[in-house]
Symmetry: C2
Subunit: 416 residues, 2 copies
């Protein structure tokens, strides 16, 4: 917090609150970088006795005068006349927040609030927050309304595996793997909806790309074709990346920049990719799921962002609209072999929906409440779910999804 008497100008009286990121001693002067609401503020202390009160990590309040200068990060610095230490560090920090070398991810997560004082960690979460603003901006500008759907559910929306059971009073319930069924139902009245919220999957392995609790951006719209939904997500991704490109200072501490944007994201059918992989000598046939290895092999050829379209019905959930030849109106949005989003057109006919649930081996009775509204003129609709955390990995060029989630949850980690 920075309070200045009047405007920021030479000699103005200022009070600044923040935490000490670094201290640089010169013969007669001490320079301090105070982090004031996530931005560096340079303090100049000319009194050595006063300077001795300042320690890295301490939360302090200083009073002084503004001095305009090009050498300070903000174009001005504070010449300090008075210092109050509000809370000092009581232990030796687990790592040096300004060191070039990065501590291990596990140490960083054990001391997450301290880790977030490292410039690159803080940058990741500033970019994340800004990206979420840009997502919302794009969707609201395109007529979408934000909704909140329940996270405690009675029935698995996608079929059943990988659910966390919850003891709900005297009943068993589950944590929602996605807002899929709710967002579809809501297109009936609202036409265009989106939700940004937590989703839960009991992942049975520990990878760099999966967490037990993730943030999902779910979008659903009535009346759009599969191609129009791809255009929508492509437009959204471009909006976010262009917005971030206009704020390069956000990326300074990361030595990274947002990925390059092609004129148009290439669209490959599932079948094309199978043929391509066969041609490369892979032992793969139509109907096989694309393994991580296959996705990466193709991803390295495709580069950057691209779509995989027209997946076989048996590889997609019950609500996806079938096409001829056992294919579906569906797509995955990929970045270099990493799946970022999955979507497509949905079934809107109640009879077809009921049949598809059966064919996917699911109990129709569990989906009674979901099928019910479809009898009252459910519009044709489609949409997608985008893994926000994975998208932030791509934006910030991080290799481990744990770096872009404040307090990640996995098979082993439940604290802090």
């Amino acid at each position: 917090m920075l309070l200045v008497d009047g405007k920021i100008a030479e000699g103005a009286a200022a009070t600044a609150y923040g935490w000490v990121q670094s201290i640089r001693e010169q013969k007669t002067i001490t320079f301090v970088i105070l982090m004031e609401n996530r931005e560096p503020l340079q303090l100049v202390i000319k009194d050595k006795r006063l300077a001795r009160k300042v320690k890295v990590h301490a939360s302090i309040m200083v009073k002084g005068r503004v001095a305009m200068t090009e050498r300070a990060p903000r174009g001005y610095e504070i010449h300090v006349e008075e210092i109050s230490v509000l809370n000092k560090p009581r232990k030796i920090p687990p790592f040096d927040i300004m060191a070039k070398e990065e501590p291990s991810i596990d140490v960083r997560l054990d001391y997450r609030p301290v880790d977030l004082r490292r410039p690159s960690s803080m940058a990741v979460f500033k970019i994340r927050a800004r990206a979420l603003q840009l997502f919302r901006e794009y969707l609201v500008n395109n007529g979408f309304i934000e909704v909140n759907t329940p996270k405690i559910i009675a029935t698995a929306s996608e079929g059943g595996s990988a659910l966390f059971p919850v003891m709900y009073y005297d009943r068993q319930a589950f944590l929602a793997q996605s807002p899929q069924l709710y967002k579809e139902e809501l297109t009936m009245a609202f036409e265009r909806v989106f939700e940004i919220g937590p989703i839960f999957r009991a992942e049975q392995s520990r990878t760099m790309k999966h967490l037990s609790e993730a943030t999902s951006l779910d979008v659903e719209a009535a009346f759009l074709s599969n191609e129009e939904i791809m255009d929508l997500i492509e437009g959204m991704v471009k909006h976010v990346i262009k917005g971030l490109n206009s704020e390069p200072q956000l990326f300074a501490a990361l030595k990274a920049k947002p990925p390059a944007l092609p004129e148009r994201f290439p669209r490959f059918t599932y079948s094309e990719i199978i043929e391509k992989l066969k041609g490369l000598g892979e032992d793969i046939a139509f109907g096989d799921d694309l393994t991580q290895k296959s996705l990466e092999e193709f991803g390295n050829m495709a580069g950057g962002f691209y779509f995989i379209t027209e997946w076989p019905a048996k590889l997609k959930p019950f609500y996806i609209m079938p096409k001829e030849n056992g294919l579906t109106s569906s797509f995955d949005l990929m970045y270099m072999g990493l799946e970022l989003a999955s979507g497509g057109q949905r079934i809107h006919d109640p009879v077809m929906l009921r049949k598809s649930i059966k064919e996917h081996g699911l109990p129709v009775s569990s989906f009674k409440f979901h099928i019910t509204p479809y009898y009252y003129g459910m519009p044709p609709h489609g949409g997608f779910g985008l893994g926000v955390d994975r998208f932030i990995m791509v934006l910030t060029d991080r290799k481990n999804i744990r770096e872009v989630v404040l307090y990640p949850r996995d098979l082993r980690r439940l604290v802090p």
Copy 2:
């Protein structure tokens, strides 16, 4: 979805997608209100054979020409030349969406997607989405960064009762009752944070004001005094209500308007209220919690928005900063006897925090990961949690919290 060739002007070719809200037959003309992305669009059908294709609730696509006219809700209508029925209702709707009389809340919730086609239901969720935008706008403009904290946690943040247990792989975990501990920790690096997300409480009774799953707006800021935090929340509430007041059309279908704003929200101490209630003959003493009956009795006197400040320590959780005389730097924001938000200054000294956890009868070992960062210069901080659903009840003048949540969860209701 509405697609117009060029600008909306007399004679322009138009294609509109939407669902049919109402049909009004005149001798030779049929007027249809098509809900197109949550807004009414008037269709004029002069061909009776064509008009017969249109049924209430059907999702349709029409082609025609724009006609500018004052009598239509948008200042223009579409003269229809072609109609495609995309999905027709297959059953008789459970209630008439345009009826004056409202169906019971349980029927409405059983058919929620259909209920949301009722103008007053739709209005509630448009206001809710707009209010959340205005919350975010205010907080971002005041230097706050939005964060996402985990909903699966190892330890109760507030002490233990009313938690939903989750089977987390082979361990027991819980659903978070609030992001309290995480948001406090995050002030250490980020200074000002907020989160809008789900919270979970196993409420053992069914009331008009409680749900098992609710949406919470959690705000936390370093370096603010208790009074400054009250100023912040007051400023935020005023921002949201002023923003909504500038869009009266949002409230048209509700026959309600946002509550009046006093110049300044009155601030009453807990002790003042106890004295006042004693004076009214209530059997109450310092140290007693304020029952719903007491809150309402005082609320009716106070009217509108007000604060209750300086609660006794034993009525507040362990993290609240104590003051002299067993009081605390704390407040509740009330509206006419309804608690909307609770907040205050927090303990930032690790030794005092550990002591307070013990004094509240909680196991220090369970809070080890939370106390750890406090040893590295945690700033003085404070904040509040605001019940978003309750706030929307006040904004929209609804008496049952189930009306302002899309798919509410309570002791009895887990579907849809």
